[in-house]
Amino acid sequence: MRSSSSSSASSFSAKRRKPNPKTSFQRSSFTDFGSYMAEKNRKLRSQFEEEASSSSILNCEASSSGKGKGIFHGVSIFVDGHTVPSSQELRVYMLRHGGRLENYFSRSRVSHIICSNLPDSKMRNFSRGLPVLRPAWVVDSVAANKLLNWSPYQIVEQSSEIYKQTKLSAFLRCKNISSIKDAEVSSDPNDEVDPEYLEKSEGTPLPLESKVFDQPIQVNDEFGLEKGAQFTTLLGEGTEVEASNATSTQLSIHLSSRIDDVSVDAVSSEEPTNPKCLQASDVHHSTLTDPDFVENYFKHSRLHFIGTWRNRYRRRFCNTLERNCSKDNASSISTNKSYIIHIDMDCFFVSVILRKYPELIDKPVAVCHSNNSKGTAEISSANYPARGYGIRAGMFVRDAKNCCPNLFVFPYDFIAYEEVADQFHSILHKHCNNVQALSCDEAFLDITECDYDDPENFASMIRKEIVETTQCTASAGIAGNLLIARLATKIAKPNGQCFIPPEKVEHFLDDLPITTLPGVGHALGDKLEIRKIRTCRQLRLVPKEALHKDFGVKVGDMLWKYCRGIDDRKVEVLKETKSIGAEVNWGVRFRNTMDCEHFLDNLSKEVASRLRECGVVARTVNLKVKKRRKGAKEPAKFMGCGDCENLSRSMTLPVATDDATLIRRIAKQIFSSYHLDAKEVRGVGLQMSRLETLDVNKQGHKHNVIESWLMIPAKVGEVTFRPESRRVVAESLCSSEEKLPGMQRHGPLHENSQLYFDRAAAGTETLYINLVDSRSSENAVSKLPPVSHLDMSVIKDLPAEIISEMNVAYNGKLYDLMKKHDEDQKNNGILLITPPKVIGGKKLEPDATNTSGRSSCELIKPKKAEAFEMMLHQVEKPEVSCSNLNILQMKSTTCTDPLDWASGHSSKAVLLAQNISDDTNLDKSVSRQGVLCHSASVAGDSLWNIPKDIESGVSEKFKNNLWSGSPPKWVEKFEVSNYLILNLIAQLYTKFGAVGLLSPTLQSLISLYPFILGSNGDEPDEPRLYLCELLLQYINHKIDSDIEELYLCCRLLERLTAISNFFSEVYSAFLSRLQVSVSENYGGTLQLTGCGD
């Protein structure tokens, strides 16, 4: 197909060089080249004069004109390259009309240069000051029998797009034509194009001239003459400047070429096409100079059009496709009498263009992005008249022009292509449900399921409709399977259809050359050729095994089947996209690594945008680089890639992405791993594979964003905001690296439980608040905790990025607050500590929620121990949502370590850090909390501040060795105690206290504080005494080995202090004992206020 044309470009690049006459003469026997040439020229001139004098026409004309001289008297032309009429004919004209024709160019003798077009270098080298004219000047002069003003016939190479390759940079960076006016005045060549103007130049065919000329099309002779005259003078100026100042050469060229541009435009307005873009002669075509090269490249790439068309198609026909998919299974069964139509537009790229130029339908026309007859742009499509001249897709324009000098070459018109392709496919989908689009202009139809009487009629009906709708013809091949249908289309073309019924397939294939089979290309064809296999008939004689042996199983099977006309493939709707990428192999020239990186930058952006367009993310990044093969010369194709080594490496990411910066980073990494010299790079391709659809992926993706944490629903009253915000902060700390998707869940659950406790404590009837609804509330929209509730001491230790992210979330208020906080701190010299009022559990497991619900029930109808038994049972039966429970637990424990550091920093921080680590015991603590409350309510108001009191208050059996044994003695004692809280502590400690630490238990208490709050006041003394004793003995137990744990407990108790008097008593007792112990053992005191840094 056409898509191969670009990549195979280099194979057509064998440059046909005309033997340079000069070089051949250098080998002649004359002693000196100069003398030889002089002699030759002299001889040629004498020959010419001889002929001229013998020319009767000249004589009679001369006599008739009465002047004795021809109209071309004094004119000496030099014919360069191919012209119509040919140089021989021109010579005859010159002979007859008194002119002269120089065989070799010489500035002194030649007065006019005649050619169809002239390359830029020649223009620079020898046309300076000499008029370069089209042959029509000679012809017209002869016809008019007078020497016409040559201005309208002037040619400037690289001026109008008919004669010249439209270069990418032309669309962005070419010199503004409006600067011509400047040139007349200031001769400043460096005017940049304004963007608006550029856009126009691309979209509409004619805007350029219209900017310069008032009447772009109606440039009549007069106008042209006038202009021409004007330009001639300018031209003179240009050369003058150049002559006078060597350094200003560039400038003069700019000037002259620009002038020429205009004059040619005047001329070219006679041409059937409208010049689309006008360019200065030195526009930049490569990555070297065009910063937006990638973008432009794809904007003007036909292959890119075809590639992206698929996405477009998918979007457009999405509904139809889906509908068909469901049907697909049913239809595939009855393949018995199926008919496949392969339908293909005839020379699509040309015929779409020709809709606008019906007069050219019978002329040879080709589509190519350049019309430079010396150019190396490839013909992408040619119509049938052109093919008659031997013009094929993939040919260089210059070769095509050699085959057929009258070839009309048009640029692409992607908008029209899109339109026609859409029409084409709409028609197909209208008539047939099972359509496999192969390309923008080609499709398979499975008409088995369609209501048709005769496949041929059906096909012709579709074709007719296509012609009517699109004004472009299509050909169809009809057969029993895809292969034969496709082959039939080849026969049918152009504008025909061919039906090959199954019984005729064998006959049809008999003499078919092997190479016409799809999948048999040059390489395979050559291999078969060696074996003298040329037709399908011959191939059929080869047994399958032999094919397997020679070509491998896959290819062998394919050959075996195809030569028998067997093709099992089904017509299927668009296949899943496997990879998305972008590759540039043209115009890639880098000076240094910076250029490369910039290029990769753009390429990544392009790829990322394509990924986004398709709504997918990808995991594998593959970077292909074409590197100039050692010793390879500059390719024949202008700016082509030439002979290259292909390098390819890929890297797989842990997470699929469509992020341009990430892709760029990987791409650069791979690129640097090649260790290439930037100058050697000829092509770069970036491809993303392992695609994943975005919507599935998105959820996991979003969890990493702090906003998702800040957005956690916060329905509970203001009190809960504090721990909430703290938690957010804490999580943001550990969220940076990896975060389980499920983690988000605990937030809302926690909220719910909080809410639940609040209400339960308030004694409301509605106990069974939405435990079940907890899931639904996850999605609830919520707001940020008020900025004043954020804990500054924690926040300022966050990574800067997170702070800035939060700052954005708070509309910049955060920074202000932080600044203020800093000032405050300086003034006071101490860290600001506000005792936490409410402590939020960091992660509440689902069953913990259950438990808490249950325990608050108990609060209302207190029933002591049995109730707690029940509660623990509840724990075993997760009701609501316990899917992520384990993961959550694990995750939270891993979070603990990095967060613990905060503990020493400020009391806030420690609370927060411990919040995180205590989930494991959360459900315990919940229930314990309940008991605690209850007992507290019974207790009086008496205070024990010193251990003595406690010891005296607690019974004897409690005094010693509470922590000895495993499990510790106190567990048993607490279990049999009359107090709910003690029972509970014991129970939970049994469950979770394997490591023998108390701090998790206290953390749990903190996280469930609101539950207690409601029942403050009448706690009995006894549990408090027990608790104090327990803690004091704990100090003794741990002081040797683990002040960390004691410190932690101390911090936790401090937090509880803020909640109730009950704990403040316990805390003060604990603290005084602890400090004494520490100073005994460590010679210092624990630092419990904020870090005095």
Binding site: T1085, L1086, D1093
Partner: protein, 208 residues
């Protein structure tokens, strides 16, 4: 390491010494005493740690810790604490990182090397994030590694002891403030790491 050391005891001591070396490296890095470029990232017990690149610095830490090995091995419990002390320009301590070691005499081989490593690993993890707990160093400060022995080792017996010289470091007048960083207790070995800062009253005394 010597072959003969591959007893459970030797193993534990070796791990401890190794750990101390790494931890001290980390502490010095943490304090920002030298430019960050003087350290390189290494992996120890699967934790990213910092190791001094300068040969002298590296050698000092290495020799100081490895010379502890005989004391830890032979006379268990001889070393009570190992402290990394940072001094101000008057050689008054401003901050001390104290490793309190308790090595129980009869080694029971109940603790697996892996478990021990796991526990010690937690120290390193915590250390890497302990920067906010520390004080910024005044200009002209210095630091040294000090080991607190329960008894002065008999210098005549062991030539290797020469590396460690008795010192009389200035002490704080007031009991210091202690910030625990990490504690670990297992059967043969208990390690606690905490930071000591001069108490606020101490600072006032100095100012006066």
């Amino acid at each position: 390491m010597d072959r003969k050391n591959v007893t459970p005891q030797g193993q534990t001591a070796r791990i401890l010494v190794e750990f101390l070396e790494v931890a001290i490296n980390c502490i010095v890095f943490l304090k920002g005493f030298y430019p960050a470029g003087a350290f390189e990232r290494r992996r120890y017990m699967n934790v990213v740690v910092q190791k001094a690149r300068h040969p002298q610095l590296d050698n000092y830490i290495h020799s100081a810790t490895s010379e502890l090995l005989p004391f830890i091995q032979k006379v268990a419990g001889l070393i009570e604490r190992v402290a990394v002390i940072f001094y101000d320009k008057d050689h008054i301590p401003v901050e001390r990182f104290v490793f309190k070691l308790v090595i129980s005499q009869p080694y029971s081989s109940t603790v697996e090397e892996n478990d021990l490593q796991f526990a010690l690993r937690a120290f390193l993890l915590k250390l890497t994030v302990s920067k906010p707990l520390t004080k910024s160093l005044p200009p002209g400060s210095s630091w040294e590694i000090t080991a607190y022995f329960r008894a002065l080792p008999d210098e005549n017996n062991d030539t290797k002891v020469q590396m460690w010289v008795p010192t009389d470091t200035k002490q704080w007048l007031q009991p210091p403030c202690i910030i625990p960083i990490k504690s670990m207790s297992s059967e043969p070995l208990k390690v606690q790491l905490y930071i000591e800062h001069p108490s606020p009253t101490e600072l006032k005394d100095q100012n006066r």
